[in-house]
């Protein structure tokens, strides 16, 4: 991975872990509705946010992500009844840990985006891209891979 800090017009890379049923479909809807948003995000589709292992997030940073987003169904709307509650609980514990291990809380985002909330998805991506852009490239974890 080249040192992005020196690059002109640096753009952050954001990894999004989303559930198949709500947020992935919501992101699809943004496409079918021909909305536009920042191209910085790369989606990894999982069946449910409850499948997301906190290690995924760490690995994403290790592999060059400047920000990570986790997004699933709204509380009560989970396709698998309660998977998103597991994700939320895991998130609460994990978030404070992230701060402790030196990852700025602004690099990590959690959201609920339903299959019909294309607008929310677009706003969310634009907003977190801006926020992460301000924080600059995240270099501290890159070396870990080697």
């Amino acid at each position: 991975m080249e040192d992005k800090k020196t690059e002109e017009g640096w753009e952050p890379k954001i990894m999004a872990f989303v559930c198949n049923w709500c947020t992935y479909a919501g992101a699809d809807l943004a496409g079918t509705s021909r909305m536009h948003y920042s191209p910085n995000v790369r989606i990894v589709k999982l069946p449910c946010t409850g499948r997301i292992d906190p290690l995924f997030v760490i690995k994403a940073f290790e592999n060059g992500a400047d920000g990570v987003l986790v997004s699933g169904c709204h509380p009560g709307d989970c396709h698998y009844t309660s998977g998103n509650y597991h994700a939320r609980r895991r998130w609460i514990v994990f978030k404070s840990l992230m701060d402790f291990v030196g990852i700025h809380p602004g690099r990590l985002h959690f959201s609920w985006v339903s299959a019909s909330e294309a607008i929310k998805w677009v706003d969310l991506i634009d907003r977190i891209t801006e926020e992460i852009k301000k924080l600059g490239p995240f270099m501290e974890y890159r070396g870990l891979k080697k």
Partner: protein
């Protein structure tokens, strides 16, 4: 070394306009394990699929990446094509470069889109390298169905399935099937009498050899999964032996005690041993235990004395029956929102303010007044009746945000019924909008206004109060911009339809979704309207949301056809996206067991030669597992993995980021 083929779709100009698909294909060529790449105009077209199949054979591919539209669109198409070419369908992975790339990043220089498409495609390739061929899981099916709710939707579903040769168990919590439709007088827009069209269907359901009726019963417990459910039904004590009772009616003739009739909506009393209405199916009475003097105090017993076949049994207890079934149709229907919530309309305080369903009973020829429309307070014919629409509906503050859909129509019907029975009477309707979408519906409302002289006033009612035996209605007529005051004899409220009070509890028992009001969620509101997220459980009628009789009947039939097509197969095939336990690694902490929303994790013991259990580990029931992966993330020893989304595959995608 894997042999992977990468097919980048141009989707005409949909992808090509912002993504240089040739460049994406070219770049992927150099990745280890990739032996073939190309860019093609329409991958989903027949020639596109043919080309895919041909290349699989020509290059002896063992994995395929199609970078095209969303997997929700064409994953099935490409997987099927791969299967035809002899490749395991799960060795085909889709990259979404249309909905999540070309359409949302309108960079005409193609730089942004191409870069992102390359990233996404590379991630998919790496993921594909780690994924394993999967086989669809095949399961046996119990060809019996359960219908919960014996209203018109449930009856229709049961009849259709029985017609298709399936054994059906119909569970109804009231003593008779028929539901709310049995209460209605006439039905819009044809004005045929509700009981005349419903009762033949009720009798048909009773007589059909394939239908087993459980009335005065409730579903207590549901276990299992699609094709293999076990349900426990609580058959409440009727205190009447069904097999002996002939339905002669001697008992309820002679019973000396009375209670409010639930069926007649408090407009009439019934006996303590009763059938809800004369055409009840089955025509077997129940004893209302809390009101029965014999059961409570041990005195009376008149019904037992007069019963010829000796069918009365005061000692009867609730019975629990277990049934094995393969599919469930939920048709629990609706009830009305409690009118007492709207104090300004005086319901409950003023006797002559009634609900729409009560008006139905008054107008019904089998109702408490024999079809005469009279005031509940003094039994006099009302000269002026005010109908208030949207009571609770479209009222987010005090009621519900949604429109109850049928009130505009039934209010128009009420004004007509009223005019036909009280010729000199005048009906007034306070409305917000008239919503009469549907075949012959608008004409029906016009008829009520133009032919039967109903006076429609656009506006809300602010207050209803009693004065000198009259019910005074104060409201606004927004079209003329004036305040109006009507001296009415009776007021009818078109109250919002809400789900049954027990709807949420049942949903939790069944593991199906519900909205904030308690209406059940469809799998997809447009394309899969009668399915739920829990495979094998279907919906029909007003438990989904307000709808009229034709819609309820169609949904009942639709749910039945879903069950019939499910049962048409010898074996059930399902997606192999299920969790697996690496048993030697499992340390039996049971975190997975508590995390699993489907109770799909079981404890399995390892036995020594003497047959003693020496160690425990978790086991996934493939039939029950829905593949959410919650257990995988919960597992401490990392011994559970989810086929199709294994840790290794996800990490491979992350590493390629």
């Amino acid at each position: 070394m894997p042999r992977i083929g990468v097919f980048v779709c141009q989707c005409g100009n949909n992808i090509e306009s912002t993504v240089d698909t040739r460049k994406v294909a070219e770049e992927m060529k150099d990745l280890p394990g990739v032996v073939f790449t190309c860019s093609y105009k329409f991958m989903c077209s027949s020639p596109g699929q043919e080309m895919l199949k041909e290349m699989i054979k020509k290059h002896d591919l063992d994995g395929v990446v199609v970078s095209a539209c969303s997997p929700h669109m064409h994953e099935a198409t490409f997987r099927k094509a791969c299967e035809k070419a002899g490749l395991n369908p799960y060795r085909c992975e889709i990259t979404n470069i249309r909905e999540q790339c070309s359409w949302v990043h309108p960079d005409k220089t193609k730089k942004t889109g191409t870069l992102k498409s390359m990233d996404l495609t590379r991630m998919t390739i790496e993921r594909l390298k780690r994924n394993r061929p999967l086989k669809t899981i095949s399961m046996s099916v119990t060809r019996r169905a359960l219908v919960i709710g014996g209203g018109i939707a449930g009856i229709q579903a049961a009849l259709d399935m029985a017609e298709g040769g399936i054994e059906v168990i119909l569970v109804e919590k009231e003593p008779s099937i028929g539901g709310n439709m049995a209460r209605l007088s006439e039905t819009f827009p044809t004005m045929d009498c509700s009981q005349c069209i419903l009762t033949p269907k009720m009798v048909e359901a009773e007589l059909n050899e394939n239908i087993k009726l459980y009335t005065y019963s409730e579903v207590e417990k549901v276990d299992g999964y699609i094709g293999n459910f076990t349900v426990t039904i609580r058959k409440k004590a009727r205190y009447v032996k069904e097999e002996l009772c002939t339905g002669c009616g001697e008992c309820w003739e002679k019973c000396p005690y009375k209670a409010e009739s639930e069926f007649e909506m408090e407009l009439k009393e019934r006996k303590v041993i009763y059938t809800p209405f004369p055409q009840s199916v089955p025509n077997i009475p129940v004893i209302d235990a809390p009101d029965c003097v014999m059961i409570q105090k041990g005195k009376c017993g008149v019904c037992a004395k007069v019963c010829g076949p000796k069918a009365i049994d005061f000692e009867q207890k609730d019975e629990f029956i277990e049934e094995k079934i393969g599919a469930i149709v939920v048709a629990t229907g609706y009830e009305l929102m409690p009118n007492e919530r709207f104090g300004e309309y005086g319901y409950g305080k003023i006797k002559d303010v009634i609900s729409g369903l009560q008006f139905e009973r008054l107008a019904s020829s089998s109702g408490p007044t024999g079809g005469r429309i009279v005031r509940p307070s003094d039994g006099k014919e009302p000269e002026t009746v005010v109908f208030i629409q949207c009571v609770g509906s479209r009222d987010e503050k005090k009621g519900v945000a949604y429109c109850s859909k049928v009130c505009c129509m039934y209010t128009a019907k009420h004004t007509m019924l009223y005019k036909h029975k009280v010729h000199h009477g005048q009906a007034y309707v306070f409305y917000m909008d008239i919503r009469s979408g549907g075949k012959r519906y608008e004409e029906f409302v016009r008829r009520a206004i133009e032919h039967d002289g109903a006076m429609y006033l656009r506006g809300r009612v602010s207050r209803v109060y009693e004065k000198d035996g009259k019910v005074i209605v104060q409201g606004a007529d927004t079209l003329s911009g004036t305040q109006v005051e009507i001296e009415a004899d009776m007021v009818v409220l078109a109250t919002a339809m809400v789900p049954r009070g027990s709807a949420v509890e049942l949903a939790q028992r069944l593991g199906i979704g519900y909205d904030k009001y308690g209406f059940y969620n469809e799998y997809h509101p447009k394309l899969r309207p009668v399915e739920t997220v829990n495979a094998g459980i279907y919906l029909a009628g007003t438990c989904i949301g307000p709808m009229d009789i034709p819609d309820s009947v169609s949904m009942g039939s639709a749910a039945a056809s879903k069950v019939l097509s499910l049962f048409a197969k010898e074996k059930l095939a399902r997606e192999p996206i299920v969790a697996h336990v690496d048993t030697p690694v499992c340390n039996a902490c049971w975190d997975c067991l508590t995390a699993c929303p489907y109770k799909a994790i079981e404890k399995e013991g390892i036995r020594d030669r003497e047959g003693n259990i020496v160690r425990w580990h978790a086991k996934v029931n493939e039939g029950v597992c829905q593949g959410c992966g919650v257990c995988v993330a919960a597992c401490r020893s990392k011994c559970i993995d989810l086929a199709g989304y294994r840790d290794e595959e996800v990490f491979a995608a992350i590493n390629a980021f």
